[in-house]
């Protein structure tokens, strides 16, 4: 979801949640995220690919977030749970904008190890994310991640529970292909598109 900053520090998280995950760091095996949830060439491990001992502790972080009853998460449910090991430089500029989930949902990052600096052209600021905190990411805008070599984080996306029913999975993960007519060609409807602000017509 868009908000008027690059990141927002939501809260702190007790250290043991992080330590519990890192105790099983051996089992963190990430691979290229074809959906570019956070950015192109990001490496993630989705919860379905985690061994049970990792699932338990990563899920505990999600449960902790729920338990804090943050106002901005009212009516929101976790849609995706993953661990991320972004490359040293990660570009989050392209496909993520067209992902409906990024427009209407929330992305929370919880650094577990190392640190990452995030920069954007939309705001004249950078953010450095470090372990011990829960961060909300403005995933509607373009950004760059500059990670330390050892950086690893847990990531959760949240979606309004009603929209989980109303949206088809391929909508959430746009720009991936739908049957027959997924993406309209802007060049074929220039008059209409010209009425929209350029920023939103990716």
């Amino acid at each position: 979801m868009y908000f008027n900053n690059l990141t927002q520090t939501i809260d702190t998280i007790p250290r043991y949640f992080i330590d519990n995950v890192l105790e099983h760091e051996l089992y963190i095996i990430t691979e290229i995220d074809k959906r570019a949830i956070i950015g192109k060439d990001n490496k993630i491990q989705i919860i379905a690919n985690m061994p049970a001992k990792l699932v338990k502790h990563v899920s505990a972080i999600g449960s902790y977030i729920y338990s804090q009853q943050y106002a901005l998460l009212k009516n929101m449910v976790i849609y995706e749970t993953m661990l991320c090991r972004p490359p040293v430089t990660l570009v989050g500029d392209s496909s993520q904008h067209s992902r409906y989930l990024n427009r209407i949902g929330e992305l929370f990052l919880i650094p577990l190890k190392g640190q990452v600096k995030i920069a954007t052209n939309d705001f004249n600021t950078t953010s450095t994310l470090t372990p011990g905190n829960i961060y909300r990411i403005n995933n509607r805008i373009g950004n760059r991640f500059f990670s330390s070599a050892d950086f690893v984080c847990a990531a959760f996306t949240f979606l309004d529970f009603d929209l989980k029913n109303y949206l088809m999975p391929h909508d959430l993960h746009s720009p991936f292909v739908r049957r027959k007519d997924e993406y309209a060609d802007p060049s074929l409807a220039p008059d209409y598109l010209n009425k929209l602000s350029e920023k939103n017509a990716y």
């Binding site: 209407i104 949206l167 074929l188 409807a189």
Partner: protein, 193 residues
């Protein structure tokens, strides 16, 4: 908004009322206010409406009341008045503004023009055809690729009502992308509609 099916019959409206609505729209058309055109298909949308036309002034409040009464838990988020010329068609498309994913799109045919064939694509190879009947109120599944062709020589008028559950309406009505078309990596003969 996606739902399981291509269209859904919601209810009926009185045809005398529809005749009046059609007459009201005919009168309004003298202003030449349609603000979207694709081929022979014209529309006036509330979403790009610099003149701030009101649907109640175009079609009358009675039809708005009749349709919104069928959705007591929803808010009327926006509307379109559609004019499809005889012997013309609307190309295959998926409705692409962000609110389309959250709103129910409800269609009321305003004049009785038979032979308008509607279809949805069940798969890349399978097209499901259907007819919509004058006097009925339908909900359309605009998340799935769809199109239509007016095989009649007469022009067809319709009103689209976009209804959103009240809670979602409150939450997203001010979202800055709500009436934005979201596109990426466009390829092929496809359109923004």
């Amino acid at each position: 908004m996606f739902f399981s099916g291509y269209y859904q019959l919601i209810g009926q409206v009185d045809k005398t009322l529809l005749e009046q609505v059609n007459s009201n729209i005919e009168t309004f058309e003298e202003k030449q206010a349609y603000n979207f055109q694709h081929g022979e298909w014209l529309r006036l949308d509330s979403y790009h409406n610099p003149e701030n036309y009101k649907l109640k002034d175009i079609a009358g409040i009675e039809i708005i009341n009749a349709v919104t009464a069928m959705f007591p838990e929803d808010e009327l988020f926006g509307w379109s008045v559609s004019y499809l010329k005889g012997k013309s068609e609307v190309v295959d498309h998926t409705d692409r503004m962000m609110f389309h994913r959250m709103a129910k799109r409800v269609i009321v045919l305003v004049n009785d023009v038979p032979d308008v064939l509607n279809w949805h694509w069940f798969s890349n190879d399978t097209r499901v055809n259907y007819l919509l009947e004058y006097g009925n109120v339908y909900r359309l599944n605009t998340s799935i690729t769809h199109g239509l062709k007016n095989n009649n020589i007469n022009n067809r008028r319709a009103i689209y009502f976009d209804m959103m559950p009240k809670r979602l309406h409150d939450k997203f009505k001010s979202h800055q992308d709500i009436v934005s078309v979201i596109l990426a990596d466009a390829v092929g003969e496809k359109y923004v509609l």
